[in-house]
């Protein structure tokens, strides 16, 4: 997973399958970067995610809680149709910005 910080925005480019088995491995580097940089905006990019289940929703909810404590904003982009549906089942659209498509990474 690649993590970039530019223009006060931290972007994590998630890759592969996100399930209960590997959620912790995705979470740890993101949380380390957040703790170190205290970014005002965080973006989770799901473009390279090939599979996700409710564990990924738990991951987004957990990052939301962490960021809300610092008044930072969360954005989740490039979700699959099913991914967006699962995030909406948890009402995450009221807490974060959810998008199916975002500009292609350069």
């Amino acid at each position: 997973m690649d993590i970039r910080y530019e223009k006060n925005r931290l972007t994590a480019y998630l890759v592969g399958e996100i399930d209960h088995h590997n959620a912790a491995a995705v979470r740890e580097p993101i949380d380390q970067a957040i703790a170190k940089l205290r970014p005002p905006r965080v973006r989770l990019d799901f473009a390279a995610v090939t599979f996700m289940d409710s564990s990924a929703v738990g991951l987004v909810m957990g990052r939301y809680r962490l960021l809300a404590a610092h008044d930072a904003a969360l954005e989740v982009v490039n979700l699959s149709p099913q991914g967006l549906r699962m995030m909406q089942m948890a009402h995450l659209q009221t807490l974060a910005t959810l998008k199916q498509k975002e500009e292609i990474r350069t």
Binding site: D19, H20, F51, D53, S54, G58, M61, Q82, M86, M89
Partner: protein, 151 residues
Amino acid sequence: MKYNKHTLINQMKLMLDSRSINEGFARATVSAFAAQLDPMVEELTDIKTAVSEAVTNAIVHAYPDTTGKITLWAGIYVDGYFRVMVKDQGRGIEDIKLARQPLYSSLGDERAGLGFAVMESFMDSLRVRSTPGKGTTITMGKLIKGKRNDS
């Protein structure tokens, strides 16, 4: 479309240890089996996601501090009906109605409490049978429309 849920034409059965590394294996296996029905990509994703939820629940909730056995069964019926069963012999569920409620989770940490809601919305049917102290059996069904009706 008419279908008969009772005419089984093919089936598979698999026993797994309740180790989280098997979550990916379980959903990939069921998905490879379901591929016989020539499903659309979205239908396969629905099945994979639902199986991942049920198997993860058995790993996380049925056997919280031991390694137990999970039995995975899948069947293909005439006219494209697909059924999958995930069975454990773990702790069981006290209150199934409460457990099935969206956003309910007995574990606080990072669980969204969405597993049953996802199984219900991604599959056509979901049945939960459970006995505290004995185990839980999840049965899900879905009619695969597949590429057969594509133009």
